[in-house]
Symmetry: none
Subunit: 407 residues, 2 copies
């Protein structure tokens, strides 16, 4: 079926943000067997938006819009769609009530403009927004499907996977598509690509690589006439992939390293503390992104200067002898955090985040230290990237090593 | 002048690559005073490309295409433009000679298909490609300008800056567009919209709102015939906006709250420490995202459990009396971090991140404590959102209050 995406928002025409929504949706449509013929980007201009919608309505079977669903005067998607279809927007009292409860909960008065987000036209079904207040619309009319989704990528992607994708699958897919993602850390994307190359050109299941902040993802996708068969195809390919990558695979699908580490610590009844220097507390912050992490994570120390290191009981001689970014110091950091907070395991993390080198060590050098009361271990790595990327990689690296010793 | 970008290439419709060319060109056009009305993305399909070109020719004054200029059968931009204009493509012998010399230089035989890249129509001027073999076309006809550029971003950008931009500047630049962004924290997007509404419908300068993780952005954009006049228009509107939002405005353009706080601390020669509980170290991490932050930030404590609070010298009675999420405790946290690390200022940060309420306080409740040796202060707020959003807002809130007491 001929599919078209319309991205709505003046900010997209000013080059302030790159249109990642279109690329995301474009990558999703092949899973449904839908042919994307056009992506149109149009600003918050009612006349031009309506012209664009009319054209899409003429030439496409499925039209997906993103953006223009906010509460402000700029947000005109609802009005434009109503005009396209010659339908009258009405206020949905259930939605109004929902909004009022939400605002009441946060003890904020609901601005009158928010009512806008509760309007709906007769042929539209309301699609819940799991992440924000702007609901989407699902419209079926004249053998066409028109779907409106919000513009913020997180809201859009969550609405897509939770609400839209399953509906479209039912509507258009005569075949089933099942995917599984394996997550790899410790190899570059090019290395993963090379090792997986025998399978990258296969058509069913297909295999694709994606570089993410927590490593390289390998996605296996099978398309066939039943879910069982698809799962069987995937299981076979997964075995091939696991044979190649083995220990580099740390998780799959929605796993995060911090949740895996949390599960392992909980299962073993162990507790954890951290001491960081140049990652500035990001490791502790990521660990505590997991709900319930207080069961195993007690706390952390962030020593960003010598004064702080001294205040936390660090031997100044160690620093003057080895430098702050060294095996000896990162192991001492692990030990101090463990002793200070009385935990089973202590993790130390330091490195050179940039913009310039530190103590003769290049940007991207990182050290992870671990102490579980029996062993002191440390690992040195080097990652490319800017300050924030190196910081993120350092944290991923620490969690990866922590997982390894817990297994 | 009404401008339109057409991005050509099936790979853009498969989500394999994000359309960065459009975002780049979109960011360039305001410098020329050109209004971008549409971005259209279309695959390597002759019929659909010609339809898209026809529509652009009808509705726009300046049409810029990228992609489809390679030597392969897929590359159909030249043919489609020739058909749009009803002109006959001819081989340009000077170009053929140039290609032959180039291939000779690299000691490669010229593939016959390369002749394609040497075709031109009568109304097109050939634009040199400083980076590859595909030349562009510059066409002026019927009061319109049509420009074709290659798809690879490096080739396109170099051709744009070296060849196209200077020509367009000569051709069209009778006006300039200048923007300024004011950054607001402490109000919802709807509240900002409502207060700014007298100016949201104005046309020059225009005003637009954007919701970001660190607050709401208000962008003022002026279009006039000189940069000075544009800046004057912006300055006037900025004064209107500042009169309305006053203390809620914390910065502008590329400012970040953490860099503003850093600049203030450095200017006053003050040092900083933090103690966090349920934000898990995110505040310290964000503060240290600023290069050179070790000049004022010494370190931080993350107390995620009672054991950690006790280890950091916290009075257990305080917790049992007031709870971990309270004014008294957050002020004590600020004091402890300040004393422990011997800094001028200590910041405490705690709150209920979810997924469930804590000590009878709902998800989204946050407390910021500040101690500068003279005053102990604290602020309570409530934010909507999920765990990660509340955490981010709590950090923004702490930086916002810190900025306030530093001013």
């Amino acid at each position: 079926m001929k599919t078209e995406i319309i991205s709505i928002g003046t900010e997209l025409l000013l080059g302030e943000i790159t249109n990642t929504n279109s690329a995301y949706l474009a990558s999703q449509l092949p899973l449904l067997g839908l042919d994307l013929n056009f992506i149109s980007t149009v600003g918050d201009n009612q006349y031009r938006l309506i012209e664009t919608l009319k054209q899409a309505w003429q030439r496409s079977d499925i039209i997906i819009t993103t953006g223009g669903l906010g509460p402000t005067q700029d947000d005109i998607t609802r009005e434009a769609v109503a005009e396209l279809l010659g339908e009258e927007p009405m206020i949905d009292s259930t939605l109004v009530q929902k909004f009022e409860e939400l605002f009441k909960y946060y003890k904020i008065e609901m601005p009158p403009s928010n009512i806008k987000q509760a309007t709906v036209i007769p042929s539209a079904k309301i699609i819940q927004n799991p992440q924000g207040t702007a609901p989407g619309w699902w419209i079926e009319r004249d053998n066409r499907v028109l779907i409106t989704m919000p513009g913020p990528p997180r809201e859009m992607q969550l609405m897509w996977t939770k609400e839209i994708l399953p509906r479209l699958q039912q509507k258009v897919a005569s075949s089933v598509i099942v995917s599984k993602t394996l997550k790899i850390f410790g190899l570059t994307e090019a290395e993963v690509d090379e090792r997986a190359s025998p399978f990258l050109s296969a058509t069913n299941p297909t295999l694709a690589t994606y570089a993410k902040t927590d490593g390289i993802y390998l996605r296996i996708t099978a398309k066939t006439d039943s879910e069982d068969k698809a799962k069987e195809l995937i299981a076979k390919r997964e075995a091939d992939i696991r044979a190649i990558f083995n220990d580099y695979i740390w998780g799959m699908d929605s796993d995060s390293l911090e949740s895996i580490v949390g599960t392992l610590l909980t299962a073993k009844g162990l507790s954890l503390a951290t001491m960081e220097s140049y990652t500035g507390g990001l490791l502790a912050s990521v660990i505590t992104n997991v709900p319930g992490s207080s069961k195993y994570f007690r706390g952390g120390l962030v020593a960003y200067t010598d004064e702080a290191r001294t205040a936390f009981g660090f031997d100044p001689q160690l620093i003057s002898r080895y430098g702050t970014v060294s095996t000896e110091v990162v192991e001492a950091m692990a030990t101090i955090s463990r002793e200070k907070l009385g935990t089973s395991i202590g993790v130390g993390l330091t490195g050179v985040m940039g913009p310039t080198e530190t103590e003769g060590k290049p940007v991207g050098t990182i050290f992870v230290g671990l102490n579980d009361g029996q062993r002191r271990q440390s690992f040195a790595k080097n990652y490319p990237g800017n300050r924030l990327q190196v910081k993120q990689r350092a944290v991923t690296s620490a969690l990866f090593e922590l997982r390894r010793i817990l297994l």
